[in-house]
Amino acid sequence: MANLLQIHNGEVVKRSAIPLLSFPEFAEVLTDFINRNGFIVQFFAYPQNRENRLLAVLRNKQLYITSCTVKESFDSLTASASEKFHMFEREIAEQYGITPKNHPWLKMVRYHANYRNVPDVFGNDYAVDIPGEYPYYEVEGDGIHEVAVGPVHAGIIEPGHFRFQCAGEEVFSLEIQHGYQHRGIEKLLTRVPLKRLPIICEGIAGDTSIGHNLCCCQALEALGNLSVSPEATIVRTMALELERIANHIGDLGALSGDVAFNPPAAYFGRIRGEFLNLLLILCGNRFGKSLILPGGISKSMNREQSGIIKNKLRELEPEIRHVCDLLFSAHTVQARFEQTGTVSREIAARLGLVGYSGKASGLDYDARVFFPTESYFSLEGYRNEITNGDVNSRAWVRREEIMHSIHLINTLLKRSEELCPKTTMTKISLEPDACIVTINEGWRGEISHCLLTDNSRKIERYKIKDPSFHNWTGLAMSLRNQEISDFPLCNKSFNLSYCGFDL
């Protein structure tokens, strides 16, 4: 595989070391890789020497990188090789105005003008506010009807738009349109001072503040030659696990609410708050914002904080077990969870689902095990038992992950007898002409950031991938031939990020 460069998570490579292929070679290498049980971590466009380049980061058990040059269009790999390219190619078309020819589903991703000021691939005029001229998939015939929801939904949630094509109750197809939360983050990150980067990255998705900021800070640390103390690493790992627990618990509560089983909904709702408060104990913010800085953490952790966390976990662990038991042993709940919204292993692998959505369908990928960072090198991995791919499996993975995370935090607490010192944000000088990929297992799955610096040490391209980017298609597939009334349940079992996707 001379056309692929093997890299490591968080390792700086020279841009000149990245293989540069012709497009036909590139297509062949990628097709071959994907066909042999390979997955895409990142696939995006960037400018170099007035040319358009495409860069792919791939994974099997290892991590690889490769690139090619294209002109104004290229032959779609979604069409010729795999659905795994689908969203990535649409994004390339939108961000750089490069057309993936014969793409079977070429539509906007977030609705914005491209970065190069070239004619828009979709023929949109971005001077007018979102016009809703999105070419939705339609089904026609007797008894067919269409349901449209959003962008403003009924509850206190983020905006997005869903179109269901139904025959009576049965859903043929669900199409999800995003873009309402688009804040132009990737572009913004290349033109602001470095001191703003962590705060912006914490704002990619607030429920993943720790996960995304960790990816950002690890990249800045490697590019800026900063080392992180082992004690700080422990706190960062704990924070990522606290974030995971808080969100999983919140979702189990939401799932209970959706099947109208209210006691666990109320209990989990309250317990989730307890975990957010533990993040506040660490850093003063319930979402862990401001905790992680390039080089370490912003607040020291001493016996006071670790003691509070230890005691809280001891108090909450049995409560969580009991409420989980209440939820999962209720027959009414089982009847609604089981065989609802099933995504088979085959479909999950074809789409490249990550995180609990992939694990629930039997894909055992966990970035903490495959590409460990921070303290994960020395921690036990996790494997889930139930892999039916339905709502029940996705809920069950959460339960197991919660218990596993509590165990990890307890292990880490035993190691952190020493005071963990704080650090302040210092001036960093980034490695020039470099490329770095960072990967972490956020609570929704694989998060990845990829940065390219230019010869004046400035960030030229900042590429972000939230796990939701892979998984929204999984949600759409889970609704196939389901009743439309199952939508809330399917949706909550995935609980994907709108803002993490919209960027």
Binding site: R110, Y111, H112, D129, I130, P151, V152, A154, G155, I156, I157, E158, P159, Y180, Q181, H182, R183, G184, I185, K187, L188, K195, R196, I199, G203, I204, A205, G206, D207, P263, P264, A266, Y267, G269, R270, G273, N277, L280, I281, C283, G284, N285, R286, F287, K289, S290, S298, K299, E319, H322, V323, D325, L326, S329, K422, T424, S497, Y498, C499, D502
Partner: protein, 250 residues
Amino acid sequence: MLKIIRNRIEQGYRTSSYPKEPIDLYHRYRGLPIIHHTCDPAIVKQCAEICPQDAILSAEYKIDLGKCTFCGRCEEIADGAFVTFSQDFAMGTESREALICDGFLPKLAEHSKQHFKKLFGRSLQLRQVSAGGCNACEADTNVLNTPFFDLSRFGIDFVASPRHADGLHVTGPVSRNMKTALLATYEAIPTPKIVIASGACSISGGPFFDSTEITGGLEKILPVDLYIPGCPPHPLSTLHALLQFFTKTP
């Protein structure tokens, strides 16, 4: 059934007695800043330089709480010589200018327009619109419905239809792609109506300030009656502001 009862007993009664009794937040929580006016100007400048939100007005010794994300970096310099953060979560204001402060905010209850209290004092229905941002503001608004905060015991509810609402609660920097939907929602609310800007994003663009894809502050497109700073505002900040501003007997 047994499990239901056992869990019920284990969970017990959890509703907070706030506002009848005061509530203490952990000392690391950063609420209203305390500004030390005798601080060396060089340190104030240093704080202003390190501030990722450009929220410090060094010449005036003021912090713009509408821009501040309460990240605490300015507090870490010289052991808090310029600013230390109190645990006071009562930070709502009725004007944008009041947020540019030297550590003191006008009392919300005294200044809140009395006719709002008359109109909405017993029942306030809000439509929430998430207009960009990171969703943490929405998440910490949602928790007001959990047993601990239990917002509805004060007659305040979030409703689904703007037609049933008395006002709009907005989070996020108003992305370009949400502007139309936000304005349509506002239009659908019957008058008289009130508008609340919640979180740094909706007040000033928050962490995304200067992005070309956002509007950068709700007040540029709608008249705002109440501002609640924070990134996100602590649920108690929101609870406090809503009670002080709207209810008759907070």
